[in-house]
Amino acid sequence: MALFRKNGRRRARLSMRARFILALVSIASILLLSSVISVLEYGRMSNYVSNLVAENIRSIELARRLETFTDAYHLRILDEIGEENYEAIPHGEADRALEFHHDSLRFTFENAPYRTPSMRKELALADSLYQSYMNYMTVSEELAQVIESDFTDSRTWYFGRLNPCFNDFKSRNEALINHIYSELRSNSGDFQASFYRSIVPGVVSVGVGILLVLLLMFFILTGYVNPLYRMLSNLDTYRQSGRRYSCTFEGEDELSRLNTGITDVVEENINLKRRLNKLKEQ
């Protein structure tokens, strides 16, 4: 199968067969690429947004758990102050909830393919919540000294020192929860948008495919179909009126060689006819 034709002297030129094969393979590869891109992109975007939404829901649950644990812890402290009897209160559950919460937010932030201003704000809120919790726990550790001390009024300590820390912690937790809720709303909206976005690259490459098909159609029409029609029309003229076959076009491809061949055959035919007529006349 000859894909290249030697063009007389220097360079090999593409044969007609090679041109069509190359053109169709190009279009096929573009279309194949577009379908692969669409599938991969949709999968990627859908996974990314689903993970974000799931992460938001998990963060809200963890924040609520943290709130419940700290509420209970804070009430236990109030109980102990009322009874003036110190007993160590475990707060491991709250610590773990906070650790989980903080770590998961940081993990999401650090593994995000890109960081939006909203994500940065979320991380800043999580960091400040962490600090606020630590501050509250450090102050709450003073409970044993406060109950044992004769100089410190435990109620004053509770309402004047511990409660503001607790309120600060609560307000920061609430701010973080509100922010995650708004993130959740926005991510749910993005889920729909991500569908449209994921098909864009596919649409672009399909567009390119269509452009190539149109170009191919143009090249076939101007380079092959129109010359064939011209050759046919000239051949018909020759057959009907006996006029010379005078179809010419540029190029050195197979069609051009075919045209040259037809021209030669027609010329020979005309010459033969002339000689036949001469012979008849003689």
Binding site: R19, L22, A23, I30, I37, P201, L216, F219
Partner: protein, 483 residues
């Protein structure tokens, strides 16, 4: 219209784009296949196939290019470069929505340098190089790239020359023959190489210096850092940047003359003198204003940042050595005036260009003289060149069209919900291909918060500014008349 010729020449432009995508892929491989490798590979394949496709059927010796073909080649080359150039962004994802990717691509190829990115440093290096490469390709201009590969004898070549250079600039250097486009390209390449070397010697890494050289010589403005040039916090880097921004906005033919004659005499050309003088005056006014308002404590610091920002705006680059959002109003106004004018023709700068400004000023003075002395014979003369009336008219019409484009986009941006100052400054800096505006959209700001519609309007402004309005209007006229 000869579609074969058009498709082949547009294909050549796409092959140039594909070549740069390939270079970025190589960088990605060197960086251990970063996250942009896949997007760049797919974009390369699509762009290469589309660019090479016409060559399957069209013979290498294309027929002559008519004027209509030429205009269509320019517009289609830009348009397809924007579309194929945004593929790596869209496929990579991140902050690049469809509108954002389009905006970034248009901003890159038109050497505007406005960005929608909030975290530039979060991008993989290969994608950062692609951003800068779009500046490099655009800086040379798809027009010039095409001129290099269009047949020498084409009459269209001369039409394009007159578009890219006013008669004033052409007069300024000796290489007026068909070699002038090669001169411009070689000067551009040498300048980029020197800039990369300069930045590296001033303390930048090789990667940063190449990227910033692409941006500075193309008078683009994309940086690899969130805080642009300010993040380097280095006086040598600022100075190197100022030098190459100025050189990038001086007529390349005149720069070549300086090199060839080994003297600075060609810089005495009236347009260049006017451009440098205006830059100096603007820089001094801005620096004084910054010092008076206490933005900077010392004069050298005010002078450095004032000069940097003025050079950045007047060269249509858009780099930032400081956050100009809170700068006093006089300094901001001077920056906008600088952005309105920009540098010399025959360079990579945008805006109205100093040549047109000087002709318009002289024509205005001449008009006043004629009103005072109606019987006198006076002609517009710049340096030793007498400017014919038929040369003045297109300049004035261009200025009117330029202002009209700005005005229309101002109204449309305000319809999109932008405030008056942001809309005015961003439409001005987009048409002038400067990039950053003033206020919230200043050197340290970005265009991420504006609506998608506003991004599309600004990208149209950038395109109109880059191709100098006429080719777009002529192409539209061709399409309408064909109907």
């Amino acid at each position: 219209m000869n579609l074969k010729v058009v498709s082949v020449n547009v294909g050549r432009t796409l092959l140039v784009d594909a070549f740069f995508m390939l270079l970025c892929m190589v960088l990605s491989v060197l960086n251990g296949m970063d996250s942009a490798f896949g997007p760049l590979l797919i974009s390369f394949v699509i762009t290469f196939i589309t660019g090479a496709f016409p060559f399957i059927f069209v013979k290498r010796k294309a027929s002559e290019i008519t004027l209509k073909d030429g205009y269509l080649i320019i517009v289609l080359s830009w348009l397809l470069s924007f579309i194929f150039g945004m593929l790596p962004y869209v496929l990579w994802g991140g902050e690049f929505t469809l509108a954002n990717a389009w905006f970034e691509s248009v901003s890159g190829f038109t050497t505007t340098g406005a960005t929608i990115l909030t975290d530039i440093e979060g991008l993989p290096k290969s994608l950062l190089l692609w951003r800068s490469s779009t500046h490099f390709i655009g800086g040379l201009g798809v027009i010039m790239l095409l001129l290099l590969i269009l047949p020498e004898t084409s009459p269209f070549r001369f039409k394009l020359s007159s578009l890219e250079m006013s008669s004033l600039s052409k007069e300024g250097y000796r290489w007026r023959s068909s070699k002038k486009m090669y001169v411009i390209v070689s000067v551009y390449l040498v300048l980029t190489g020197l800039a990369a070397l300069g930045f590296h010697l001033a303390g930048m890494s090789v990667f940063d210096s190449v990227n910033h050289a692409f941006s500075a010589c193309a008078t683009g403005g994309f940086s690899t850092r969130n805080e642009s040039i300010a993040s380097f916090d280095s006086v040598p880097v600022d100075i190197v940047c100022i030098i190459f921004m100025m050189l990038g906005s001086t007529h390349f033919g005149i720069l070549f003359s300086c090199f060839a004659t080994r003297s600075l005499r060609p810089l005495k050309h009236p347009v260049v003198k006017y451009f440098y003088l205006v830059t100096l005056v603007f820089a001094l006014i801005t620096s004084a204003d910054l010092l008076i308002h206490g933005v900077y404590d010392s004069f050298p610091e005010a002078l450095l940042h004032g000069t940097f920002q003025i050079t950045s705006y007047i060269s249509s680059t858009g780099f930032g050595s400081a956050d100009n959002a809170m700068w006093p109003s006089l300094a901001s106004a001077v920056m906008l005036v600088a952005a309105f004018q920009c540098g010399c023709s025959g360079s990579t700068t945008g805006g109205l260009k100093a040549d047109r400004m000087i002709i318009a000023f002289k024509a205005a003075v001449n008009q006043i003289k004629n009103a005072l002395y109606p019987n006198s014979v006076s002609r517009v003369k710049v340096g030793n060149t007498v400017i014919e009336d038929k040369a003045i008219q297109p300049v004035l019409i261009y200025i009117i069209l330029y202002c009209f484009t700005m005005l229309v986009s101002l109204f449309l941006l305000m319809l999109c919900g932008m405030n008056g100052l942001d809309a005015f400054s961003s439409s001005l800096t987009s048409v002038a291909n400067v990039g950053p505006a003033i206020g919230n959209l200043g050197t340290m700001g970005n265009f991420s918060e504006i609506s998608s519609m506003a991004k599309v309007i600004l990208s149209v402004d950038m395109i109109m500014g880059r191709v100098e309005i006429y080719p777009v209007l002529v192409t539209l006229a061709i399409i309408i008349r064909r109907k």
